[in-house]
Amino acid sequence: MNKELISDQQGINLTVLFIFGSTLVMGTGGQAKGDTWIAVMLVLFLSVPVLMVYARILSRYPGKDLYDILEEVFGKYLGRAFSLAFIWFSFHLGALVLRNFGEFMNTVGLPETPKAVPIIMFALICAIGVKSGIETLGKCSSLFIVGVFSLLFLLAFLTIPNMKSENLLPIMYDGFKPVLQGTFSAFSFPFGELVVFMMVFDSLKKPNSSYKVYLKSLVIGGLVVFFISIRNVMVLGADTLGSVYFPSYTAISRINIGNFLQRLEIAVSIVFTLSGFIKISICLMAATKGITKLFGFKDYRVFVTPVGLLMVNLAYLVYDSIMEMFEWAFEIWPYYAFPFQVILPLIILIAVELKARLQNKNKQAKESNTD
């Protein structure tokens, strides 16, 4: 089977859309309330070292994904145990985003339709996307990113009349603690989730470009999330921001230019659909690739449908209500995701570096023996 390759630009597009995923609709760093924008700004700087860890691991083994690296570094059994953890994380994340989509559709557009319907339909589209391969997803992302950015700029421009700068004040009224909590939450959702790309970035054309892709996407995606957060605070104010489920949707619904240009919130749904498609597809691809490698098969495409259907089942039963979904996303997820996003990658990096040093030492010893 020919290996599929994507360009750096396509990698950046995929990563930026992945960051947007459900973040632009659900918001991030909710604990900070009116100071969300400060939390997002802080997390932009704090994410850099973590993303460098991911890129360093990938650059040590060019052309290999995380599952291959784990097996090479830790051996067959321990490597597969680590792989299992990352398979679960990708699978779970995909199911959660799928549920976010289902809840969003159910809340804003289709209240009478059973949640399962949009979830199954969306999962089916994602499964077809994953079956088409990473190259197709990369090309899709190049197209989607143009639409998403055009809509975001247009909406940002149209919301200017509704923005009130006094909504940003008072800054840090409740102290620095909520901002820190918001920063932690914003790191795990969405920036830390980029760990999933370690299972996909073996497809980059230039093997060592993972640094560039991760950093550029963080800057582009992070700045957009920052501007969206500040816009939501300025349009809605801290109190309303904390009481609505989908702040961007509510903020955009306030656009009314001369009683003519209004009801533009559909644009938010379009952005969510496009970026959500990429995010779920990447998660599905990562989980399917892992399962395929775990059982020693070559082509991951065969298992996309069963894994996608399992994801649908998990998405359907994972929460009882939308309230539980938001409690999980902002209160539980940061702690749950931290080991997968920071601790495990750090352990892997240490093991990778130790192994590389041991190999160098052995090589030097062999060379001195032959001299």
């Binding site: 098969f297 495409r301 065969v302 069963p306 089942n313 039963l317 999980w328 539980i332």
Partner: protein
Amino acid sequence: MWVMMIILYIIVSYIDTKAFTRLKEKSVLPLYIILMVISCTIGIANAYISNLPSPAGPIRNFILSIIGS
């Protein structure tokens, strides 16, 4: 309903293996079938048991007990 669900899963599996996936490795079939059966079983259970345990509950309780809130 469960009969319909099983029939749907069989149709999806058939179309998927025949039309969309050119099965080069026949050895993948057992794992494929196992995954489909698990998925179908959870789907049927989901439809009949209203409070089917989700992994989110135990994870949530565990984390809440750790962070002490």
